[in-house]
Amino acid sequence: MNDSKNELTPSKPPFWNNPKYRALVFQVVLISIVAYFLFSVIQNTLGNMEARGISTGFAFLSETSGFDILQKLIPYSSESTYGDTFVVGLLNTLLISALGIVFATILGFIVGIARLSNNWLIAKIALVYIEIFRNIPLLIQMLFWYLVVLRAMPSARDSFSLFDSFFLNVRGLYLPAPVLGDGFLYTSIALIIALVAVFVLKRWAKHRQEKTGKAFPTVWVSLGLLILFPLFVFLMSGAPLSWEIPELKGFNFQGGITLIPELFALLLAISIYTATFIAEIVRSGIEAVNHGQTEAALSVGLNRSQTLRLVVIPQAMRVIIPPMTSQYLNLAKNSSLATAIGYPDIVSVFMGTTLNQTGQAVEIIAMTMAVYLVLSLTISLFMNWYNAKMSLVER
């Protein structure tokens, strides 16, 4: 009797077979291995650096750099410190990433929609564009734009010019720089007022449409408001704005705003390359929207562009955003290839020149990696926020 009863009650498994304990032991072992590994790497690195007399610490950031940088968004000269070098490089990286994201998105949307065009030729051109540029390594494209296309540009003395104030040559694009006069403040204020007015108008128009069903030509009125009102104030205040026009002095153009060709080549390569991926994402996002939605929208009387703008794209956005995020991340990371064509981004001026002058590889690489990690994280967070916002629109 006793025996059979014993068989029926399940025996308690020995503790080493208990998944809970197993998991615990496994994790403890794993974390100790990882911790030991990290500890020994840090220990070794410090030991090796000391044994070889390599300076450590971040004191170098306040030393004078002694070199100049081609493109700087903040004042910088050879008397600035390595810390400034870091900031200049960082800003240049941010600049190219931001510009790249904007241009790649615009181009990607255009091409993605063109892919679905009912015009056969346009759809095919878009397809060929995607297939060519998506399958060629970005580095090759970058070198191509920089070394091949740049070479075809004229020298400074026979630049292409437009109205004798815009110049394009092998050294870059030269634009007139606005010089703000004393009374320009009024125009700025006018612009702000116009912006506020547009915002109010938009809310009012929406409210009216929801109540009465009558559409208000918001776009045209807003445009008029934004352009005419500040223009009027600008003229009334005596047009306090002059232009500094680039001039050929000596070997090069002086004055005005210069866009360096490195920026151009990088931007061109990075947007053309990333746009192919974005186009495919946009296309599949639009295709993911049930065709019935389009048909319904058309039958309610919306025209093609309204259907696209008001019905299809908002729904497609939800499919589009997650893969788009990773494309933006890729773009930001790919901007590090800038160093291959001499665009002064953080990899080039900080992980390159500064590293070579100071020899503090560990600190510099750690800082550079941290910059990209933070950049990636920021883009991720922003896109997650945007994604959440877009999905809330759902009713």
């Binding site: 080493w16 197993r22 032991v25 496994f26 072992v29 100790s32 291995i33 030991y36 020994s40 070794n44 090796n48 650096m49 044994a51 070889r52 007399g53 390599i54 300076s55 002694g66 070199f67 100049d68 940088i69 081609l70 050879s78 070394l147 740049l150 070479r151 540009m153 020298s155 092998v170 050294r171 002095k249 000596g250 070997f251 090069n252 002086q254 060709p261 490195e262 160093t339 291959a340 001499g342 002064p344 080039s348 001026v349 992980m351 390159g352 020149t353 590293l355 070579n356 002058q357 100071t358 020899g359 590889a361």
Partner: protein
């Protein structure tokens, strides 16, 4: 249970190997590790004619390359036992610091900062250079001082980048530096018209000029704006290795001074001149090398004059004069301490 024991064992094994490795390596000197590996790891440029460049078959030639070969001959008795590691300017010091290479022979300028705070030691000078400028002929420029406002192609992370900023500042001139990763890219940028002039060590300018489609369209300006003593570099903290590299180079220079060359090295071994006698044998032990260390260098690689002429001098496409690099008793400043 088994799994846990396995994991435990694996951890213990990992810990002990790591601990062991730590102990054994702290003592290993560069000389021992080179001897153990049977090969010398030498950092060179990614391609600079005359100093270190790979030919069509991937064989390395150049003055810096021969310096490394000399060290290999002294240490391993065989000048071919070198592994060349092509490095960009910005990689070079990190590679040496980390132990990726045993010696850096990559036309590197000796400066105080590099000696003192990078954890490096310069073992001597194998080429005295100075910074110069390459400009396009059609600009019609005769001197650097005509180049106010110019755009300059330059290699990133070099002393030339710093000298340039100093020079233009002291002369109240403005410039814009367009920096590239390798010297190859600087000349491509120059050829594409991206910049008005290219600046670099003078020896490099000649090497780069022959890479232009029309070399005769570019001229090297007469000004030399800096001192650029180039030489092999080692890590700090290993004096024995530092001495070996230093004296391998000195042996080549002394050999030229004493008239010992690749061709007559064997005969000179029997020379009655005590100075030559010391050069050809008897001093190796003090460096921790075999007795015929310098004989190996000279018989396998040659003396300084031979490697100079073959790589950058009259027997090379560069055709650079000895100039500063002639021996001290022949009008130059190449001077090696005596082997004694």
């Amino acid at each position: 249970m088994k799994k846990r024991i396995l994991l435990g064992l694996a951890t213990v094994a990992l810990l002990s190997t790591a601990a062991y490795a730590e102990k054994s390596d702290k003592k290993m000197s560069t000389l021992d590790s080179v001897k153990k590996a049977g090969i010398l790891k030498c950092g060179v440029t990614t391609g600079l004619a005359g100093f270190s460049a790979a030919d069509k078959k991937g064989n390395w030639t150049g003055l810096d390359v021969d310096t490394c070969r000399g060290i290999a001959a002294a240490v391993l008795g065989d000048a071919t036992k070198v592994k060349f590691n092509p490095l960009t300017a910005k990689e070079r010091f990190t590679a040496l610091q980390s132990g990726e290479i045993d010696v850096l022979s990559r036309n590197t300028t000796w400066t105080l900062t590099r000696d003192a705070s990078l954890g490096l030691n310069f073992a001597g000078v194998n080429y005295y250079d100075g910074q110069g400028f390459l400009v396009s002929k059609k600009l019609g420029v005769k001197s650097v001082n005509d180049l106010d406002g110019a755009q300059v192609c330059i290699q990133a992370g070099t002393t030339t980048e710093l000298n340039l900023a100093d020079y233009f500042k002291s002369h109240n001139m403005k410039f814009k530096a367009i920096t590239f990763d390798t010297s190859d890219q600087t000349i491509k940028g120059f050829e594409a018209g991206r910049c008005d002039m290219l600046t670099s060590d003078q020896s490099q300018l000649y090497a780069l000029r022959i890479k232009l489609a029309k070399p005769e369209d570019a001229i090297v300006l007469p000004e030399v704006i800096s001192k650029e003593p180039l030489g092999p570099v080692v890590r700090q903290g290993d004096d024995q290795w530092f001495n070996i590299v230093k004296w391998s180079l000195n042996a080549m220079i002394n050999a030229e001074e004493l008239g010992v060359s690749k061709a007559n090295a064997k005969a000179m071994k029997k020379s009655k001149d005590p100075a030559i006698g010391r050069l050809m044998g008897g001093q190796g032990e003090k460096l921790g090398l075999s007795d015929d260390w310098s004989y190996n260098i000279i018989s396998q690689v040659g003396n300084y004059a031979e490697i100079f002429e073959a790589n950058v001098g009259k027997d090379s496409p560069l055709k650079i004069d000895r100039g500063l690099n002639a021996l001290w008793n022949k009008g130059g400043i190449m001077y090696a301490p005596p082997i004694r």
